[in-house]
Symmetry: C2
Subunit: 387 residues, 2 copies
Amino acid sequence: MAVQFEVEGEQIVVNDLISVQALDKGFFGTAYQGRKTKLELMPEEALYLMDVRNAVCLKNGKAISFNQLARHYLKRKKFLARYYGYKDWRDRGIIARSVVEAQGSYGRSPVVKYPSKEIEYSKVKAKALFFADDLMAVIDEEEEGLRLYESHWFGQYGTYKAKKNGRYLKLDAYETLFLMKHSGMKANVGEKALVAACRKRRKDFLALYEVYEDWRLRAFVLKTGFKFGTHFRLYFPGASPALANEEWMHSKHVIHVFPRESKMLISEWARAIRVAHGVKKTFILAIPGVKKEHAAEVDFLLYHRKKGGLIENPKEDAPKYAMLALSEEEEIGGEELAQAIEQSKKQGLDLMLAICDRETSVTYYRVKRIELPKSKYEYYEIEWRQP
Amino acid sequence: MAVQFEVEGEQIVVNDLISVQALDKGFFGTAYQGRKTKLELMPEEALYLMDVRNAVCLKNGKAISFNQLARHYLKRKKFLARYYGYKDWRDRGIIARSVVEAQGSYGRSPVVKYPSKEIEYSKVKAKALFFADDLMAVIDEEEEGLRLYESHWFGQYGTYKAKKNGRYLKLDAYETLFLMKHSGMKANVGEKALVAACRKRRKDFLALYEVYEDWRLRAFVLKTGFKFGTHFRLYFPGASPALANEEWMHSKHVIHVFPRESKMLISEWARAIRVAHGVKKTFILAIPGVKKEHAAEVDFLLYHRKKGGLIENPKEDAPKYAMLALSEEEEIGGEELAQAIEQSKKQGLDLMLAICDRETSVTYYRVKRIELPKSKYEYYEIEWRQP
């Protein structure tokens, strides 16, 4: 016989004992007011049971349809995204539970440590010509240009992948500003005019620059990530284009900057991660700017698989991830994402972004915190992943 | 001896005969006021010769540097992008010339023809429940849901890639609006309220819908392109999810919508093409809305290679492409791009977008026009390509 439950006021409850036992065994529902003979269901659980297990939902003694139950929740934020996130996890044979059940910190939120080195950049003895419409600068003093290129991989000397074809150094706007600030480089514009020209073209210029500067001051090398669809590609301390003469040096990381105050469609956000994944780079999300303290709600606690094929369950195990359910056409803000990450960190869980597309297919992105010594910003590795 | 030229007022001219003959043979410069013994150079040509051929530029009898010449052009739009586009083409041993030399139409602009079929969609007999915050609708009448899914691949029945897991049909906002307009489907909201909710979330909703409707009315099937980083993926007439039971049906095309009035950073625009390329899909750019008539300037005429290893040249051959030079951090508008395409169409040339990144590495995207019978919008295949 199919499982059966009832709408009672604002709640969905399971009264008949056979249903109660079957559901409790399957990790659906919670004891109703401490009683073990009655269960309460989350709306997502009830709809899931109707959707894929032919459960019957009664209201005033009459069976109601999926939509008749679902319409109670029409006003809830991203209700369907949450529902399909929940459904997808359960469809995989693993357990998702309400975040209300979270207890303290589970200590399951790993941190990836990155190296950091002291570095000093010496004075630049040449003057750069900055082209405001191109946001690029040229140094035509060959010796100094070559030195900047070879010692710290600033700019592009000669031609890309052929430094001997051509004699000048081309700097992008981040490099230009950095050398003006940290190496006393002169140009045909001052720092203020440079920043104004750049912000006119792209509003997020300073957010990108903050990230560029933060890593450069810790001896990393950042170059354009254009070919990989991101703002920067990243080389670890010690990288040099000189090594790259014989064999081109490949970066393994790319950085995408997501300013706190900006909003982005999930579909656009995911696109950047897709490109990085396609070219086998580790995707780093940077959230510059000052951290705020309050944390946002995540959606579900996720249990995963144990070694040997068994699954984790709420009676015996701790949850592994916190799920933030999102939909393809939703907008997310940098601040909002940072807060959800903060919340899962407090719970000691990794954050799993579950993105429901327009066909209700769910894609997962796992978020790991990065520890970059002395940095005041937040960085995360984001990994596209099958659960 | 190095080639030598002089700045004379606004012009750069070549006076000494040895330089004139060497440059003419290399397809640099044009006859100065009809004289064959004196050449005029474009600034890009002059800078290129200084950059990679050690040419000497004189002003008032004194040699000047690259930047001393380049600073004359500081105020020109995207001067460096144009310069590096020109340089890259020449570095490949092939010829680029000023667009001023274009003569009439060269008839070298191919068109890709797409099929088109008459189609009628029958009346929908079920009512959809639309979730405004998710921009998705659910039909819980199983028979009608399954019919819509199997006959025309509207929505997702059951579960993605597992239609038998679950009993309901999920429609995205484009499908919902289309079925309301063309199949009389009813929902818990009217057309107007639906459109308002969608536009609140994404301003470009109607532009995307116009494209969706245009192809659907010609019997194509469009589904979300989320997994490929685009707005839609496209199936040719006859596609069906029923065929997909045994073997999943793979789309070969994706569509990205670029509204005329919208502006986008080149880097973001290119990112969408990268994802499509990475998954081996043909990228279709859609520019909906009413065509305007004026055409925009392109940057260079490009000659390419002939069979057998020889190169095309302006003395014997017609150009093959028109180059529009762009830089990574530039913004481009849908209208602006449409106009450049229009201009190259008038010249009978394919458009080649040359995008100069922050390291002056140039990437090429070839634009081919698509003919979709009876459509009033413009569609282009865009192909990432090595020249």
